[in-house]
């Protein structure tokens, strides 16, 4: 009986190709939207995780201020170099530290200028962050000590300011400071959060403090932990040390933050997952709308085919056979829509993932789920029209014009 109903349904769909196509359009778009959202979201999550993992999970970031809520930081006293040195000196298991401080700035070369950020560091920064130079050299000890006007630039800054020109030996103007380019960082591309990791200028920390910031502040201390040591333990030790140094009474909260890369990974992955779920949910609403579209068309179809239903009933079709025919028709339509949506979504996901330069992560779960959901939409929204058809009086139906 189901086989028969399937045959009849396919015939009916073939008889009305255009209408069938328009009917399933809603489902096609709904399914495609859900799958694209979830697939791209999955790709973004995978990229965040991979990128942070590449930094090394034995990295801790110590920042002043405390996270207040979504994207807000409380203001608090900055660190100074002594804080960084204390961490290195007093806490076991610390392999290296890298103090840094940064500010937004505009870099000028000739008649070109470029908005970027400038970060004051010392050479330990390269080791802790695992950054390498594409060409040129790191800062010398005397440059670091004296606060010389030298800088190392990222690939984007080089491209924007120098174009094809050789940057070495040329001088950038940063604020009121004229700064010689001595090194070029290896290009790293876009970060997960969409920021350009090559858009930066590095200079000796002392140069930054004296000439740019005008303070002795340190905005960020990065700490790498010895292999095999517990990052959790080091994190606690740092917190204890800084509370003492910053005279925080036991009743007060920390006015700084020690972030474990593992936590950052989880936090960012969590954020993208929430966003993915949200977008997926919005897309799922369009699936529902698609289902209502199917019900609408099926109802119209039942009215339009009243006479046909009359013929079938007169010929001896049972109530459940007519019900089954219309139900199967709705399910087949919805499933067709689902399949079309899946094909469309996978093609779109591959293209979009490439455009957004995130990996294409095939998620078989969501594909199966979207297909089953679209079939279920067919059953749910097809049932009412099908029952209406099955309960028609054959005499009335035959008389219908």
């Amino acid at each position: 009986m189901v086989w028969n109903a399937l045959l009849l349904a396919l015939r009916e769909i073939r008889r009305n190709v255009l209408r069938s196509f328009l009917t399933i359009l809603g489902i096609v778009i709904g399914v495609a939207a859900v799958i694209v959202m979830v697939t791209l979201g999955g790709g973004a999550t995978a990229q965040v995780t991979a990128q942070i993992a590449s930094l090394g999970t034995n990295l801790l970031m110590v920042r002043p201020g405390q996270r207040m809520g979504f994207g807000q930081m409380s203001t608090a006293a900055q660190f100074d170099l002594a804080d960084a040195e204390a961490i290195e000196r007093e806490i076991r298991s610390v392999l290296a530290i890298a103090p840094a401080s940064s500010a937004p700035t505009t870099a000028v070369f000739g008649n070109r200028n470029w908005s970027t950020s400038i970060t004051g560091i010392d050479n330990r920064y390269f080791g802790v962050r695992n950054w390498t130079l594409a060409s040129g050299r790191e800062f010398t000890a005397s440059e670091l000590r004296a606060g010389s006007s030298v800088c190392i630039i990222g690939a984007t800054v080089r491209k924007e300011l120098f174009g094809a020109q050789d940057p070495f030996g040329n001088k950038l103007r940063l604020e009121k400071l004229s700064c010689e380019v001595i090194g070029l960082l290896q290009a790293k591309g876009q970060s997960t959060m969409g920021s350009d990791q090559d858009d930066l200028v590095l200079m000796p920390l002392r140069t930054f403090q004296r000439r740019i910031a005008g303070t002795q502040d340190i905005g960020l201390i990065q700490v790498s932990v010895r292999d095999g040591a517990s990052t959790e333990q080091v994190k606690q030790d740092i917190e204890e040390l800084l509370r003492t140094r910053r005279h925080i009474s036991p009743s007060e909260d920390d006015d700084f933050q020690v972030l474990d890369m593992k936590e950052i990974t989880q936090m960012l992955a969590g954020t993208t997952q929430v966003l993915t779920a949200l977008l997926g949910a919005v897309a799922a609403v369009s699936l529902l709308v698609g289902g209502i579209g199917i019900m609408n068309i099926m109802l119209v179809s039942v009215t339009e085919r009243t006479r046909e239903i009359g013929i079938r009933l007169a010929i001896g079709a049972l109530e459940r056979e007519v019900l089954m025919q219309f139900l199967v028709e709705a399910v087949v339509l919805a499933a067709f829509g689902g399949l079309t949506g899946i094909v469309l979504a996978l093609a779109a996901s591959v293209v979009l993932a490439d455009l957004m330069s995130i990996p294409f992560v095939f998620n078989p779960g969501i594909v199966v789920l979207a297909f089953l959901f679209s079939a279920a939409v067919g059953v749910i929204f097809g049932f009412f029209p099908a029952r209406k058809a099955a309960r028609l009086d054959p005499i009335e139906a035959l008389r219908h014009e």
């Binding site: 009986m1 028969n4 045959l7 009849l8 015939r11 008889r15 009305n16 006479r307 046909e308 009359g310 013929i311 079938r312 009933l313 007169a314 010929i315 001896g316 079709a317 049972l318 109530e319 459940r320 056979e321 054959p394 005499i395 035959l398």
Partner: protein, 242 residues
């Protein structure tokens, strides 16, 4: 086989059948106590003016409707007590229908239209195609299998409808004004076709018509007026009077 043999077991038998539509003051009595027996092999023309109850009677005989009171036996089975689905089974296995408006499925080939009743019998595709081709050949439409109703003339469409009605080898063929939408030449052809099925295959036929020309093909004429049978004449009677 003789339709006039009064000793034959009746195939269709109405006894005191009434049919009332609506309720209370709006009630309309379509049939007011009809007694009618039709034997296997008969070709009955049911006649009468509009509203005389002839269509209602055909619907009841065709198991599409049930009497409000009285008894209708089909092959000895009391139809009035059957459920909607049981009556559908009865129609599927023993009855064929031809309508005035042909009632073919649009955009569906002649072959698919004809095999529709076989589909509801769950018949295998090869067998279904064979029987449908045979039925189309029997109505003179061999070679027209892949044409859709839109590509066929009125007469041809009615032939397809007849093929659909007889493809299941029913016991009774019900025809409701089968020539109502056709010109006189086509009407004559259709009537000859139906008559041939009656004569050659012994198919029992009950046909509603208001055209005397068409009724002349039948072996028996039943006249309805105001919900009851006004006259019931056999072929040899009216042949004599003619």
């Amino acid at each position: 086989m003789s339709g006039t043999d009064s000793t034959a077991r009746p195939l269709l038998e109405l006894q005191g059948v009434t049919k009332v539509y609506g309720r209370g003051a709006a009630a309309m009595q379509a049939l007011r106590g009809v007694d009618l027996r039709i034997d296997a092999g008969e070709f009955v023309a049911v006649m009468g003016p509009s509203g005389s109850g002839k269509s209602t009677c055909l619907n009841i005989l065709g198991c599409l409707d049930t009497p409000s009171a009285g008894s209708y036996r089909f092959g000895g089975v009391e139809v009035g007590t059957l459920s909607r689905n049981q009556r559908a089974e009865l129609r599927r296995h023993y009855l064929g229908f031809v309508f005035q408006g042909f009632n073919l499925l649009n955009r569906t080939t002649a072959l698919e239209n004809v095999e529709l009743p076989l589909l509801y019998r769950g018949m295998h595709i090869a067998e279904r195609h064979r029987l449908a081709r045979e039925a189309l050949a029997a109505v003179g439409l061999a070679g027209w299998e892949t044409h859709t109703p839109g590509e066929l003339s009125g007469g041809q469409q009615q032939r397809v409808a007849i093929a659909r009605a007889i493809v299941t080898a029913p016991d009774v063929l019900f025809a409701d004004e089968p020539t109502g939408n056709l010109d006189s030449a086509r009407s004559r052809e259709i009537m000859e076709l139906i008559t041939a099925f009656n004569r050659e295959r012994g198919l029992t036929i009950v046909m509603v018509t208001h055209e005397a020309d068409m009724a002349a093909f039948a072996t028996r004429r039943v006249h309805f007026l105001d919900g009851h049978i006004e006259s019931d004449t056999r072929a040899h009677d009216f042949m004599e009077t003619a």
